[in-house]
């Protein structure tokens, strides 16, 4: 308790590989992570972003955490701590969900995977790993269910883009053609047996996330084999910069930005992942009250109509110049070639077409509320 520890920055098993490739590294939630790879190898945020929209890119996402719940009451435990309905999951299926505080605000958003009859895997955010694990453990004590923190057991690599399936199929014996979006499979991958592969991601594109042993040698070998196998598809390594612009175009929330412990489900517009017909889950009561009381602010998409880029934390002003809200995430959108943002504004100003301003360096710059997601991937005719 009394020992004073210097804040250490954490590294994934692929850290040396990123350095070797010349990646620009940044601290992200206590992790030293690649933000982008060098222009000299065809990278940079814009090229990485475009590769994922049109071909394939790979990301080291080992900083994400993993919590396994297993036991005869694992389903009841997951139902209690998450807002989506896990009873709908078949074995091998996954769903987007969230862990809520009793106030109806967010502990974190998660992907819940049902791996077996009584076995679930929650994939959680890097910045909230310890908090999430403690929270899950403390809130599931009454269930016959073991809670394990597997966060350090895996190197997690995301392979994303319309060509991701073609790339991954070259290095695994699992038949990926039968794996639907938000389903998982297992198979041999780069010679490693029984590797978990989920058709999930954070790019608003088709793709997979794979979970391999976390030792440096295996991690580096698989990373390099993926890059080699993807050469014919123009694969590039991608950093957190492109990950952010890709998820923003798809309006996928980021903890600490669109969702947090002061924002509730209704404000965040995540209603369709929150199953109020479930009789009980942490946060349900508060959400019922919040709905009855009326939702005051809403998360909207903005597109800049005048020259300027909205950034995280910038103020949103109404037409008269009064401060009415704030930008949660803002950036140029490399694929859409527009300057876009997500922002909280009063419900009265949330209708598509409403003109607002974003304060940039003291000036109100024109923007308009637009439909979201900004980007939707084209439907494939399968």
């Amino acid at each position: 308790m009394s020992s004073v520890e210097a804040p250490t920055i954490r590294k994934t098993a692929l850290h040396a590989v990123h350095r070797q490739m010349g990646a620009k590294m940044v601290e992200f939630n206590g992790w030293d992570m690649p933000v982008e790879y060098p222009a000299a190898i065809g990278c940079g945020i814009i090229n990485e972003h475009m590769a994922v929209r049109t071909g394939v890119g790979i990301f080291d996402v080992s900083h994400m955490g993993d919590i396994r719940l297993a036991g005869s009451e694992a389903l009841a435990a997951v139902q209690h701590i998450s807002m989506n309905d896990a009873s709908r999951l078949a074995i091998g299926q996954a769903q987007y969900s969230a862990l809520l505080y009793p106030e109806g605000t967010f502990v974190d958003d998660v992907i819940v995977h049902r791996l077996g009859e009584d076995e679930y895997l929650l994939v959680i955010n890097a910045g909230t790993r310890e908090k999430d694990f403690n929270w899950v453990r403390d809130n599931t004590r009454q269930f016959d269910c073991a809670v394990e923190n597997l966060s350090d057991d895996f190197t997690q690599i995301a392979i994303q883009g319309p060509k991701a399936v073609n790339l991954l199929q070259k290095i695994t014996d699992a038949d990926l053609s039968v794996v639907k979006f938000y389903w998982v499979t297992r198979g041999k991958l780069c010679g490693l047996p029984n590797i978990l592969m989920g058709r999930t991601g954070y790019t608003a594109e088709d793709g997979f996330e794979i979970y391999i042993p976390a030792d440096e040698e295996t991690s580096a070998r698989v990373w390099n084999e993926i890059l080699a196998a993807g050469k014919e598809f123009g694969v590039v390594p991608c950093g957190l910069g492109a990950r952010n612009t890709l998820r923003l175009e798809g309006k996928l929330p980021l903890y600490g930005h669109e969702i947090s412990d002061t924002i509730n489900v209704w404000e965040a517009g995540l209603d369709r992942f929150c199953k109020m017909e479930k009789p009980e889950f942490v946060g349900r009561e508060a959400l019922e009250k919040a709905k009855a009381a009326g939702v005051k602010r809403a998360l909207v998409g903005l597109e800049m109509t005048e020259r300027g880029i909205a950034r995280d934390g910038y103020k949103v002003l109404d037409a008269a110049g009064r401060e009415v809200g704030y930008v949660t995430s803002g950036s140029p959108a490399p694929f859409l070639k527009k300057n876009i943002a997500l922002a909280y504004v009063p419900v009265e100003l949330s209708a598509v077409g409403t003109a607002v301003k974003v304060e940039i360096r003291g000036q109100g710059v024109g923007a308009v509320v637009v439909p979201t997601p900004f980007y939707k991937r084209p439907k494939k005719n399968v």
Binding site: I46, I309, P332, P334
Partner: protein, 129 residues
């Protein structure tokens, strides 16, 4: 990367090329590389007064917003209008894609700036951190 010897440099990564009483200002190759894909350049209007060491504009990459600092005091005589529509030119040719031209108020201010060799040493140290 070699830095042209026909100009001087600031520790904030601007370059200034002096020609008599006037000068041309841009950002260095090191700066463009650190910023990444540049998508926005905002410069003051012709006639604006710049003060050495003070901000006079903004350059933004996909990820970051960065201030431009005036290497010297003076009056803006021309801005590079190309950069409004093609800011990526700063990435491809940082030492050619100038941002403003100005007349110098006090050329003596330039003595405090870095030579090409000193700037190269400075960024090597900065990059090493």
């Amino acid at each position: 990367m070699s830095y042209p010897t026909d100009r001087k440099y600031t520790k904030e990564h601007e370059w200034i090329q002096v020609n008599g009483n006037s000068a041309t200002v841009g950002i260095t190759d090191y700066a463009q590389q650190s910023l990444g894909d540049i998508v926005f350049v905002e410069t003051p209007k012709v006639g604006a007064e710049l003060t050495a060491g003070k901000t006079f504009g903004t350059v933004e990459s996909v990820k970051a917003v960065s201030d431009l600092f005036a290497p010297a005091s003076g009056t803006v005589t021309e801005v590079n209008a190309d950069l409004a529509t093609a800011p990526e030119k700063v990435n491809s040719d940082a030492h050619g894609a100038w941002m403003v031209k100005m007349t110098l108020k006090n050329p003596g201010e330039l003595h405090g700036l870095l030579s090409s060799a000193d700037y190269e040493k400075f960024v090597a140290e900065e990059a090493g951190h």
